[in-house]
């Protein structure tokens, strides 16, 4: 565990200890939460309500969905259905014409650029083509946010080495993005998004244009971040194979080994939900089992 995480854990522990002391003073037993805290725990970490967006044509029409902490939402849909727009709206890169978008309890539609910056610090984003900074090395790309946050050099170096090891690119730290293959670029993008330890991870078509084997390395990373770090995730894709790979795979760590498990029975899958868009409207939201059991002709055609 890196120095940053150790410091964050110490600070969190300190706050928890103080909270326990206060609770004891007030005579409130452990496990008993005030109603506000319970409501906060039940509140989704991401919430879209009747979101509308149009440019020269409607892009999103009344999109609503919730995402709770630790859950994964896989957004499916054809090209131009508005999948990526959902991610851009969540990051505040676009403003909705109507409706509300709440991220971790904050309505982001009303925030200015400074407010948005604070929200974005909770989110890690993996762009479709990686969007790596061409003028920087792999290590500088991965450590970019930490350097911007004025984290000590040695801490940044340790965290970058740790994350690059996690994505299997430890030997490529000094290379430029142009020297990497498509799959390696995506993994660096993954590492860059992951380095600051965000609570929410967004993936925009992370496997598009990759061969099946390389795509599996990317979906395995998504599963690892979901199961081992407990990150809340939204995966936007039109690659059904990769979407179901993420929904069906689970991982646990045993020593230094990552043990993957694959559940074939859709009815036993939990924690992952699908959302399907068609021309900017939500046409399906539910579990993997509900998706594959759907009789909707469009969904049947999409899945076939």
């Amino acid at each position: 565990m890196s120095e940053i995480f150790r410091k964050i854990q110490e600070a969190t522990q300190d706050v928890a200890d103080r909270a326990r002391d206060v609770a004891e003073m007030l005579g409130v037993s452990a496990g008993e939460q005030p109603p506000e805290a319970q409501r906060a725990a039940e509140e989704p970490i991401v919430s879209f309500r009747d979101v509308e967006l149009a440019f020269d044509r409607p892009i999103l029409r009344g999109v609503s969905f919730d995402l709770h902490a630790g859950a994964t939402k896989i957004v499916l849909g054809g090209s131009g259905s508005g999948k990526t727009t959902i991610l851009r709206l969540m990051l505040g890169l676009l403003k909705p014409d109507a409706g509300s978008i709440r991220v971790d309890g904050t309505d982001i539609a009303s925030l200015d650029e400074d407010g948005l910056r604070r929200v974005r610090l909770k989110i890690g984003m993996v762009f479709q083509e990686g969007a790596l900074f061409d003028s920087m090395s792999v290590a500088d790309n991965v450590g970019y946010r930490l350097v911007e946050d004025a984290v000590a050099e040695d801490v940044v170096a340790a965290r970058v080495a740790e994350i690059l090891g996690f994505v299997g690119l430890g030997a490529h730290a000094d290379k430029g993005p142009a020297e990497l293959s498509g799959g390696q670029r995506r993994r660096v993008a993954f590492a860059r998004a992951l380095a600051p330890g965000p609570a929410i991870m967004l993936y925009d078509e992370p496997t598009t244009g990759l061969d099946p084997i390389t795509a599996t390395t990317i979906t395995d990373l998504i599963v690892k971040v979901r199961d081992l770090d407990g990150a809340t995730s939204i995966l936007v894709t039109h690659q059904l194979r990769d979407a179901f790979n993420v929904a069906r795979s689970f991982v646990r760590k045993q020593g230094d080994e990552f043990l993957f498990e694959r559940i074939e029975d859709f009815s036993k899958l939990a924690g992952t939900e699908f959302l399907m868009l068609r021309e900017g409207s939500v046409v399906f939201e539910g579990s993997p089992h509900e998706l594959v059991s759907s009789r909707d002709p469009y969904i049947r055609e999409f899945l076939s």
């Binding site: 851009r88 990051l91 890169l93 650029e113 910056r117 974005r120 610090l121 989110i123 984003m125 762009f127 479709q128 083509e129 969007a131 790596l132 900074f133 061409d134 970019y144 946010r145 911007e148 946050d149 860059r192």
Partner: protein, 270 residues
């Protein structure tokens, strides 16, 4: 077919209105970007390393073209001036004419145009590529304000380095004209330099150094604006690059006229 005419006129008017709105929005966005880029230089966080890198790229990188432009402009100016002055038997005034022309007008304008062609287009291409490859979005997602990180350093570099390059261009132009005066026009070296020295006054230098500051600002802001407003993939990057050079060059020449009018009132020729 007469019934079609009002429809065509209405369609034309709609298109004109759309273009006018688009142009006004473009001007508004450009002014906003320039204002935000300038104010970012005055507040934290700043990126001094980026400023130095841009100064190096804009200044050191443009040295060769500025040297060549200044030198040959001065030499051509000496030849042309001598041909005209000979009619009046005033060849000895070549130094005076070249010096004033270079410092007040040709040095600043030609340097700015050359730097626009080389660096302004480069800025548009670089930022345009960053837009189409989503690097600008990535910067924003990673908590960095692209205007602070990318635009402000380029404005600073333009405002600082274009005047420096202009001084260099002026000096080489006068030197080049000196070479022609001595070896081609058979004037004495000493007389030429005395003529240059007597021609140059403080007002000329003020005018010659005020304009490049404005030109540096224009070429940097236009380069950044056209780059950041790129749409349509790699083809869009090409269009932005061309647009950046055309718009910045026209703005430099137009602003030169207005600045000359104002500066001649503030600092009249003695």
């Amino acid at each position: 077919m007469a019934w079609r005419t009002p429809l065509l006129v209405a369609s034309l008017l709609r298109r004109l209105a759309w273009r006018a709105k688009h142009a006004v929005k473009g001007v508004q966005d450009y002014v906003l970007l320039s204002a935000r880029g300038t104010s970012a230089l005055l507040t934290r966080p700043r990126y001094p390393n980026e400023i130095l890198a841009q100064m190096d790229s804009l200044g050191v990188g443009s040295l060769s073209i500025v040297i060549l432009t200044g030198l040959f402009t001065g030499m051509v100016l000496a030849l042309q001036s001598a041909a005209s002055l000979d009619v009046f038997g005033a060849r000895p005034y070549v130094g005076r004419l070249v010096c004033v022309s270079m410092v007040r007008e040709l040095g600043p304008v030609l340097t700015a145009l050359m730097v626009t062609g080389r660096v302004g287009s480069g800025m548009a291409a670089e930022l345009g590529s960053m837009v189409v490859t989503q690097q600008i979005d990535a910067l924003r997602v990673l908590g960095t304000d692209p205007i602070r990180k990318l635009v402000a350093p380029r404005i600073a570099a333009g405002v600082i380095m274009v005047p420096v390059l202009t001084v260099l261009s002026d000096m080489l132009g006068i030197f080049g004209a000196g070479l022609i005066s001595i070896f081609n026009l058979k004037l004495s070296w000493e007389y030429y330099w005395r003529s240059v020295g007597s021609a140059l006054v403080v007002n000329d230098i003020v005018m010659g150094l005020t304009k490049p500051v404005a030109f540096g600002y224009i070429l940097a802001t236009v380069g950044c604006y056209t780059g950041l407003s790129t749409t349509g993939g790699t083809q869009g990057v090409g269009l932005s690059t061309t647009r950046s050079v055309v718009v910045a060059s026209v703005l430099i020449l137009a602003s030169d006229f207005f600045m000359t009018k104002v500066l001649l009132i503030l600092f009249p020729v003695v």
